[in-house]
Symmetry: C2
Subunit: 463 residues, 2 copies
């Protein structure tokens, strides 16, 4: 408490001198910035600032560094592993007002945006160009936040994750230096890949303030469908066969029967209650037809039932909105609950086995356990619903998750396909990559942030 009070008197004064009323220490604002979508207890920053430009971010960093105050970059707070919790207090840098699209280069298929631009905002902005930004983690996250967590989502099977779709970053370093990690060329072999080093660094190595992203032409035809299967295994087999055939499928997401049931109740839809794959095909008119026919044939071989089609844009959007709403739909299975969301990703050949063993493991869980995932990437999520008032439930869920991570690692998988490490997966990452790799990461962290002020306690711990 002493620390907090001391903080108020000096740092806040300096921040206010810099940003005026774009500094807040109100309980409501601090609380809003001290929680994410995870099951972690809230951890409030001492102050929240709303910078408008590069120089303001740099000046905030300078103030924080002089006072040795933690800095936590904040987008819209949709992360799932406690990424933005101010566990050591400090200043939350809310970048949501840095939300300008700075440039769209139609011929080069790229755009330069400030970190606070959300993916939907960008796609709305570039609608008239016939281009789109494909990375879609479900939530309307900021592109800065998505870069910082190496987000992916439903389109990754075809268009890649943020790793593949960021061309360059502007970053404010812990010592206030401002760097641009790369030029706008589509590829480069110029030195160490700092762009990729900051993508996925979760605000622990620098504060991402601008992102140059790749755009893609909206294809002539897009068509989506859902297909129910008699087993999860049938879903997996179909998708493996699809990918091996070289069919350039744009999206293929799996939901289990419990998830589909929750979606039906929440969205008043009437999908068949069974393991289901959501497909999407992009291409020319004829190639979409061809892809869809080929996948239907493969599905049929593996216990798939009829495809329910959505070809008009609004139908397609509805269908994917249903998929995206699965998270909130599933929370309603147990009203008032929060979710411990798992995130393992395994080689696709092991997916069916991993899902099968996992479903056995959770069958006695206190609540139904819905499954959903990006099956083409081998990445799936379980939602372990917990009553936040009963810490022992969270403990049980965490134990399940621990076993799941160990299972995925045995199968050459990763503890996190897309949610990131945050506070929740630090131990899992050590298990996954070994002490030496964690030591290398820690050495890099120490090199770039020797005072451990950038989002401390996330990704790797410094002593």
């Amino acid at each position: 408490m002493n620390k907090a009070r001391e903080f108020d008197q000096s740092v806040v004064a300096e921040l206010k001198a810099l940003l005026g009323d774009r500094v807040s220490t109100s309980a409501a604002v601090r609380e809003h910035h001290g929680k994410d979508e995870s099951y972690f207890p809230y951890a409030l920053p001492d102050a929240v600032v709303f910078p408008h430009n590069t120089e303001e971010v740099r000046d905030v960093v300078d103030i924080c560094r002089r006072h040795r105050v933690p800095m936590i970059p904040y987008g819209v707070g949709t992360s799932l592993e406690g990424h933005i919790l101010a566990i050591n207090g400090g200043v939350s840098l809310d970048l949501s007002q840095m939300n300008k699209v700075l440039a769209v280069h139609e011929e080069d298929l790229d755009a330069v945006v400030q970190a606070g631009v959300t993916r939907k905002q960008l796609n709305e902005y570039i609608k008239h160009t016939g281009l789109f930004f494909p990375v879609d983690p479900g939530a309307d996250a900021t592109i800065g936040g998505m870069a910082a967590t190496r987000a992916s989502g439903t389109n990754a099977v075809r268009y890649g994750t943020m790793r593949e779709n960021v061309l360059s970053l502007k970053v404010v370093l812990a010592d206030g230096r401002i760097i641009q990690t790369a030029r706008r060329a589509k590829k480069s072999a110029a030195g160490y890949d700092l762009t990729r080093l900051f993508v996925g660094s979760e605000g622990t190595l620098g504060i991402i303030i601008e992102v140059t992203v790749r755009l893609y032409p909206v294809q002539e035809a897009m068509s989506a469908a859902v297909c129910a299967f008699d087993s999860v295994d049938g879903c997996t087999r179909t998708v493996i066969a699809t990918i091996q055939s070289g069919i350039p499928i744009a999206r293929c997401d799996i939901v289990c029967d419990k998830t589909i049931d929750a979606i039906n109740k929440y969205k008043k839809t009437n999908y068949r209650v069974a393991p289901t794959v959501f497909f999407e095909f992009h291409g020319s008119q004829s190639s979409v037809v061809e892809q869809a026919e080929a996948v239907q044939a493969l599905a049929k071989e593996h216990g798939g039932m009829d495809f329910q089609w959505a070809t008009r844009p609004e139908e397609r959007n509805q269908l994917w909105q249903a998929r995206h709403d699965a998270y909130f739909a599933c929370l309603q299975i147990r009203p008032g609950s929060r979710a411990v969301s798992t995130d393992v990703c395994v080689p696709i050949s092991r997916l069916a086995e991993c899902v099968h063993e996992t479903m056995e493991d959770v069958k006695d869980y206190i609540a139904p356990v819905p499954l959903l995932g990006h099956i083409g990437d081998g990445n799936f999520h379980l939602m372990l619903l917990v009553d936040p008032a009963k810490p022992q439930e969270t403990e049980i869920a965490k134990q399940f998750n621990k076993r799941l991570v160990e299972r995925a690692l045995r199968m050459e998988g990763t503890c996190t396909g897309e949610h990131g490490i945050g506070m929740g997966k630090m131990g899992s990452m050590r298990l996954e990559l070994g002490d030496d790799v964690i030591d290398v990461m820690r050495d890099i962290k120490r090199t770039l942030d020797p005072d451990n002020l950038l989002n401390p306690g996330k990704v790797v711990a410094l002593q």
Copy 2:
């Protein structure tokens, strides 16, 4: 010379105790390992070792570290910026005998190979699976070397570069620790992206000994064509329009009239002497036809003449072999010459302008200046032929290259699309990315290689 003698007596003895006759200090072997395809003067290592496995590499590293001797990883020596020159002497680690394909996971579309496996060797090995490894820099380089230089080449426009196609690396660090940078899952958000940090690090941060690469299904149909244009600008406009239409073109390389003339002479082909684009289309039978028709229509709009088709595999291979032989064909424009090969890459919207200004600049050069490049990525090469006996010619070529780099940087491009930094582009990289970025790279280098023993004097200089 004293240093070399001292070296002989102690280090070589230890290396021989470890590797027996797989240590060489013969002049011929050292010379072979002290030159690459660049214009730089030879710089011989003091010894060359041929390890067979991870433990031997680690033990060599331990010996070198104890004696503070530089270590230079070596694949097949096809790099173009002096990457493998032993400018401070030391030990060249020739990894070409670590050439086993360790695993092919057909369902997961990946393979694990030792660093010395070449790309053609891997493709031959997996031929029966219906999969292929797409990255193709022309030379039959080792996959370890390709990872180390972040190589790309003709397929990158569709399949990406080594950056996108490496899933994981096994690396021996300067202190002898052995790390695996990632699991085999297709995507991961687990911590800092060490895989991407080592891809493109050119042997300066660690020695890559195993690479897990992505594979792709061989498409049902593949078809290649060449098309002559009335101008380079027409080539560029056609390719921009192609990419903007979302046509998933697999390859599109440009060669100028001088290059095509050199190819004709060298390969006894009879391509029309004009700016020419080599195209390749992959997909289903019908989609390849559709893609080809669409591109032909676009080419026609921009001054393209008739397509000359190559659909049978051997014809396609011949066609691309002609393209790949362009380098050697062009050397024959001036027999006995070597080439200063430029490598800028610009946003594609600036490509025509960049090429145009550059051709103006080189029009008075001492020899014809052939152009070739990966037009879909905005990456092009000029071959500035120099007489190695006349250092002033190399100087003139370097001055041209310097102006070209400055021009590309003005157009938001990079000094190197795929050849890397080596010794040749350190100054250009500083110009491109600025002092602060170079400092960050240097800090990372120092963190991972504090004694500056890993390929010293490349990428970033340590004082």
